[in-house]
Symmetry: C2
Subunit: 528 residues, 2 copies
């Protein structure tokens, strides 16, 4: 019966053609380039990973009956009367290698979670999803058993909520398939984004994390001190903080390099403990000199996401996520059980998200804030939608409004531009040839989530920026270095910021942002 | 006379063949891939950078008399009676584009430091170092003049010490050629290192920066607090610190993914204000599962550096550094005047450094600590060298010893392995089959600098690590999550750490580490 079920067409069968599937028998996802670098033959190569072995078996480098050694952890063991099977994983890819023990007594010591080194004969399996298995006829080496025999491995195959894993096993949870896959997705995402910026002539920079000013003036900053600090003495000779955004420093770097980007941690001492907030998160920010058009910045954002998502899909990342979602859905278990159990993201949703990013017929929709208000008000008047919060011109868009604009109106990503000035920070450029009621800015909204990216042109005129800083009531002396960037040879410019974990949540189909980062930190939580 | 001098063979002429030089007329260094990505033709392309224009003129995409628009800053202006010249740079590469004004009155407003948009006719210049110039016959647009007419641009062409720039112009110093070049070098280095790890099957990870334990127990950590903190309440419900090394967390990630690496900031509240110390710096760290041989880890380090340095040299980075060094040397001015003026790194030294990394005949030298002591003591006995500090078996190698071992004994990079246990942290694996007097660790030493990388195998046995933590006198409860990594399916493993700014100093020929990072932080210094 179970076999029968698994042979029905799955969602991933439907979205990928047969030929595409044949290729994906070779793991492409991590180490998708698969050529271990040896610059000098005398240097010692690492042993092959599970991914290496599957790759080599898939492309014919390893032949039937080759002697193969695999290192990894036992994911499951199945013992029959005569023979036994064990699934071995090492996290280099999601796929496992099956060991087939011709004498089940050889496998008697094997338990889930132990680490092994196993040598056997390669068996090519052309009719199955994985390209090979390993036939074992002599005892294999258990490298790491349970250190305390009475304490069984806590990550048995049964389903556990993410919330339970975070609380009880914050340093072990990467050993589950779903969490390891999110970490590989992060890595692949960084690679693809880096390639985009490198090929587009941007310099990757490292703005400081410790700063001497609370730049956005929001007050939600962490302060830094050392053991030598006291009432009179401070380590840096002044108050110092963890950065909330690298934008201001990035503008300084842009004045030297024209096009700059960074992927760095940022920190916010927010007291919210929701599924959307982290106190430590990674932020991708970019600044571009010599542009007077917001469209330039929106085009960069759109190309960055289109390029990266296309590349990640080609590397098999979407297929991988869908497979794991199907595994969980089959078990009628939600990934995000526990505190957010009603907020599960389905495989079908994830596929829609990816495809709406890379649909190739036309650019994503762009409308102004004023148009967005009209659209929302008309929809309410037409009884197309009921919102909890009223839609008021001149007020911030609420999360429900943003989600409706992307999900129902645009049915995909949508840029909302030119928000009222009073909603936005001091450094944004007023819309030219107007009385300054709006600024040249945008938010990129996506279905299910709302804001993914925010950007703007920056005020580049010395005198006008000086006035804007004074009007904002911020500490002008702390910002004098920033103002001075406009003193000699200022240039029109703009940039954007994207919460990296938000992108990972969106692409990975993860609802709670705490699953998108290895060691999440939020109020009252700093495990390990 | 001056022309005569500049036609003598330069150092870079000597190291590069004629054909190689011909290629380097096209800027290869940043945006060395040079294909601006357009995923959808309706999206708006950014204007060409200086680098784009030079590249297209060099490869024939732009022809003689093409109309070309260049954006950038004026580096210098030279006015003659009839015609005038201006050098335009935008930081996309070190090279500039020369504007030729057929009527010098058109250039009358131009001053060093102003930003311009200039349109003219491309002139291909096959006999000169740069592939083209732009002939200007109509007035050009000054985008950003001096905001305050009385305040002249501070970065005029005359030489300024780095110390002066840091102190007086911490946010403007990226506009100098030398500092912009170091930032491009950082970016290229990150690209090449990332490619190495990606192709070698490593997952790039992001361990936390805020931690709940002072892991190395050295006490030189920064503490974190928020505005809600008081005597009873802490934001995270416990003390929290900025990480000094991500290694312990990286080992947790390795248990899920086998091969992991990271490039993240690390922080040390060191009171030293030397040319070697920063309070905020970037660290590259990696961990590898399933290895019992230190040679595996050393081989990864060697391959990583060989691969990256080779790739960077091919991209023209060494040539670029040498050119800028020659420029400064010609002016008989040192890059590191001021506090470290005696410690200038010459172009010849930089060339030697790069070549010693990529010499392809055999692996770098490896000797044990015990052998190093013998070698040093023999050299002293032979009067080959005199040290300030005596060479004592069982004592740490001093910087002068390290520099001599790399510079005079190995004449290149050298690994020193198996230091006495008492010098090293608790987590290192004792050398097998010995009484535990030494540990399986290495330092990679390089000429002029000393330690560049440090690594080791880690103790992977639960009971032995437990004893080691207790012996070290550290807080066992704060490390319980780390110890637990050895509880189920532990694996032999090892890893290494490299100070990213140290590598940049070494490859860039920068003596003072404060020049290797955009916004250096050290005791009493936190500008911007």
């Amino acid at each position: 019966m179970l076999l029968q079920t698994s042979k029905r067409l799955s969602l991933s069968d439907i979205i990928y053609s047969a030929s595409r599937r044949a290729n994906t028998r070779i793991p492409q996802y991590t180490s998708y380039l698969h050529r271990q670098i040896t610059t000098l033959s005398a240097l010692k190569r690492l042993p092959d990973t599970v991914s290496d072995i599957l790759y080599k078996a898939g492309n014919g480098t390893l032949k039937e009956t080759s002697k193969v050694t695999v290192h990894g952890w036992v994911r499951s063991v199945r013992k029959q009367k005569k023979i036994a099977f064990a699934q071995i994983a090492d996290g280099s890819c999601d796929q496992m290698i099956q060991l087939v023990f011709l004498d089940s007594s050889i496998a008697s010591e094997l338990k889930t979670g132990v680490s092994v080194r196993a040598t056997g004969d390669l068996v090519i399996t052309p009719t199955r999803a994985d390209p090979c298995e390993i036939s074992i006829s002599t005892p294999i080496q258990v490298i790491g058993d349970y250190a305390i025999p009475d304490e069984a491995y806590p990550l048995q195959k049964k389903f556990m909520t993410q919330e339970f894993l975070r609380r009880e096993h914050p340093a072990q949870r990467f050993r589950t398939r779903v969490n390891a896959n999110i970490l590989r997705l992060r890595s692949l995402t960084v690679s693809c984004l880096s390639e985009f910026f490198s090929e587009s002539g941007f310099t990757q920079t490292h703005p400081p994390l410790i700063t001497s000013s609370d730049c956005e003036g929001a007050g939600e900053v962490f302060s830094i001190s050392s053991s030598i600090d006291n009432a009179e003495t401070k380590f840096f000779g002044q108050d110092s903080y963890l950065t909330v955004s690298t934008q201001l420093h990035l503008e300084a770097l842009m004045m030297g390099l024209s096009r700059v980007w960074t992927l760095t941690p940022a920190f916010r001492a927010e007291e919210s403990a929701t599924s959307r907030h982290l106190s430590e998160f990674w932020m991708l920010e970019a600044e571009v000199a010599f542009t007077e058009e917001l469209e330039h910045i929106m085009s960069i954002v759109e190309q960055m996401i289109r390029f990266s998502v296309r590349k990640m899909k080609d590397a098999g990342a979407l297929e991988q996520i869908v497979k794991l979602k199907e595994m969980l859905e089959k078990q009628k278990l939600a990934v995000n059980e526990g505190e957010d159990d009603e907020e599960t993201v389905t495989a079908a949703q994830v596929i829609t998200r990816w495809n709406s990013f890379i649909a190739n017929d036309q650019p994503w929709m762009r409308i102004t804030y004023a148009e967005a208000i009209s659209v929302l008000q008309a929809a309410v008047a037409d009884r197309q939608v009921e919102f909890i919060h009223a839609v008021e011109d001149g007020e911030s868009l609420k999360s429900e409004h943003e989600k409706w604009l992307a999900g129902n109106y645009a049915r995909g990503p949508i840029f909302i531009t030119q928000y009222p000035s009073h909603m936005k920070p001091f450094y944004m450029l007023p819309t030219p040839n107007t009385s300054g009621q709006t600024v040249e800015c945008f938010d990129l909204l996506v279905p299910d989530m709302g804001e993914l990216v925010g950007g703007s042109l920056r005020e580049h005129d010395f005198a006008r920026l000086n006035s804007a800083i004074e009007l904002s009531g911020m500490d002008t002396s702390a910002l004098s270095w920033y103002l001075e960037l406009r003193k000699w040879g200022t240039v029109p410019h703009g940039g954007f910021g994207m919460g990296f974990e938000r992108l990972i949540c969106y692409l990975g189909g993860v609802y709670n942002i705490r699953e998108a980062i290895a060691f999440p930190r939020w109020i009252d939580h700093c495990a390990c």
